[in-house]
């Protein structure tokens, strides 16, 4: 159990965590804007991964040269992002929007229903067995020496996730749409009364959350190399946990929570054993929520009204 081993696990954990964070953003953004826990988000990403797998085959990426491969990966991210974003908007439009003024339980149960529908579409699309996702990037260690492993696909995670997160935080902080999103999340009625088209802002939020999920689905395939129609449930659960841990509704919280969960998972699996990771992650979650119910970066609910 050397220091190198520990550092290696941390590196794995942070890379995994970045991927979890990207998915967690989709949960936290939708929750922030309409207070809905979108249980279908994990399965939306599974469908994105199915599309990515089909596209890799259709474009013949497995046999392409390095330049074409990188270009192809970029194209996959854009296409799967658009696909998941659009699908997310459509689900909101036809399933959640009619229930906007219904009790909170109604859209929640509908989200679980959408999750099952998505899972069945995935089953129909790629079959019941796990499918291996082609290894598109060469496994060459990019770090000097042999002590730490950091391959092209690890770098890919960083190269995709970092700009998406910077872009998202700029969008929310400085753009007109971002300001409208923050206003709607704080008071939709007041937002409408200053001239914000609330429905449009909600749709945009679903699109962005879905787009990030679509990008995550491509990276998932390339990084984990196995996809299956049930992958959405477990991965969605970890990402949702990350969002809650960081403080649901908080964008930096989702990123932070994702990194923490990734780290905990990697360390637990290396030092305690793979089969204990789930128990350890959720035990930590429970302990943290007992002492900080609003999550690590969430805001406390007391406010002058």
């Amino acid at each position: 159990m050397s220091v190198q081993f520990f550092l290696q696990q941390c590196l794995i954990g942070l890379t995994n965590g970045a991927l979890i964070a990207l998915v967690a953003l989709g949960y936290t953004m939708v929750y922030g804007i309409i207070g809905l826990i979108n249980f279908a988000h994990g399965d939306l990403i599974m469908l994105g991964a199915c599309l990515a797998l089909s596209l890799v085959a259709a474009l013949g990426l497995a046999a392409a040269g390095p330049a074409t491969t990188w270009l192809g990966i970029g194209l996959l991210i854009v296409l799967c992002g658009l696909f998941c974003g659009t699908l997310n908007v459509a689900v909101d439009r036809f399933v959640y929007k009619p229930l906007r003024n219904a009790p909170k339980l109604a859209p929640l149960v509908s989200a679980i229903g959408v999750s099952f529908i998505f899972m069945n579409v995935g089953l129909f699309w790629i079959g019941s067995a796990d499918r291996s996702f082609p290894e598109l990037l060469p496994s060459i260690n990019l770090l000097p020496g042999n002590s730490l492993q950091f391959n092209w696909k690890d770098l890919l995670v960083v190269l995709v996730v970092a700009p998406l997160m910077v872009g998202l935080s700029l969008l929310v902080r400085v753009t007109r749409l971002g300001k409208a999103m923050r206003a709607v999340s704080q008071d939709p009625t007041a937002a409408a009364l200053v001239g914000i088209d609330v429905d449009q802002v909600i749709a945009a939020t679903f699109f962005i959350g879905g787009f990030l999920g679509g990008a995550a689905s491509v990276i998932y395939g390339l990084y984990i190399n196995t996809i299956g129609f049930q992958m959405g449930f477990q991965n969605g659960l970890y990402a949702f946990t990350a969002a809650v841990l960081g403080g649901i509704g908080s964008i930096p919280g989702a990123v932070f929570g994702g990194l923490v969960i990734g780290l905990v998972r990697a360390l637990a699996s290396a030092y305690v054993g793979e089969r204990w990771t789930g128990a350890i992650v959720f035990a930590i979650l429970i302990v943290i929520l007992v002492f900080r119910p609003e999550g690590l970066l969430g805001r406390r609910t007391s406010e002058k009204v």
Partner: protein, 237 residues
């Protein structure tokens, strides 16, 4: 032609009928007051004009055009500002961001800056609080922010819901002096108030709303000297 015409408007929430055949009109640059007890339907009336709750019957005309059934943001863009009951400023946005959102429909950044500066002249205290979060302001400052936010959008008609609620008399006086000055700027105002005395003093005309119906209307002076109004709303008689 009146600027705003509400015709036989009915609206409500689920089985509850909040407004019953309400008709009223506001002429250009005119300040009218709507007074009535708690639960009489004053807030519902403003919410129905703004499209937040939908009309079941009747219609609302703005500048001769029907705005019934339009979405709230579309109604705001026609020039109807609304400072809602309970202020409803954005608590976790700064005062500046709150004001910028008030001018959400203004796409010209320079014009927006000028509009914000102009409102800050009306409420100088806001200018000194620009980078503070809205939720940390005092009640009176929050109310000023709520009115200022509605004004940044350059409305031609402003709906004001209970601006004096829970405020100290000095703050109320300050706020009412600004409201009184709005008509001079060509802004028509619908002022909903529990503080009937102050409202009727400012208003050219007023309406009394009781259980979702308009039961009385007239000039501000007429209403203020009406026996029923004095007894029920002015605490006299």
């Amino acid at each position: 032609m009146p600027m705003l015409e509400v015709q036989e408007l009915e609206a409500g929430y689920g089985p509850i009928q909040a407004l019953n055949a309400v008709s009223l009109e506001v002429r250009e640059g005119e300040l009218i007051a709507i007074i009535g007890a708690n639960g009489a339907g004053k807030t519902s009336l403003l919410m129905a004009i703004s499209g937040i709750i939908s009309a079941r019957r009747g219609q609302v005309l703005f500048c001769g055009r029907s705005i019934t059934g339009l979405k709230p943001h579309a109604i705001v863009r026609l020039g109807i500002g609304h400072s809602p009951e309970g202020r409803r400023i954005f608590p976790r946005l700064t005062v500046r961001e709150n004001l910028e959102l008030g001018g959400f429909t203004q796409r010209d950044a320079w014009q927006l800056k000028r509009d914000i500066a102009e409102v800050c002249e009306l409420f100088p205290v806001l200018g000194t609080r620009m980078n503070q979060l809205g939720g940390t302001l005092s009640g009176g400052e929050q109310q000023m922010l709520a009115v200022a936010r509605a004004l940044v959008g350059r409305p031609t008609l402003l709906l004001l819901d209970e601006p004096s609620l829970g405020l100290a008399p000095l703050v109320v006086a300050k706020l009412f002096s600004v409201i009184a000055g709005l008509t001079a700027r060509g802004i028509a105002v619908v002022l909903v108030e529990q503080n009937a005395r102050a409202a009727l003093k400012l208003a050219a005309r007023g309406y009394v709303l009781e259980a979702g119906r308009i039961t009385l209307s007239g000039s501000g002076q007429e209403l203020a000297s009406d026996n029923r109004v004095r007894e029920a709303y002015l605490g006299e008689g």
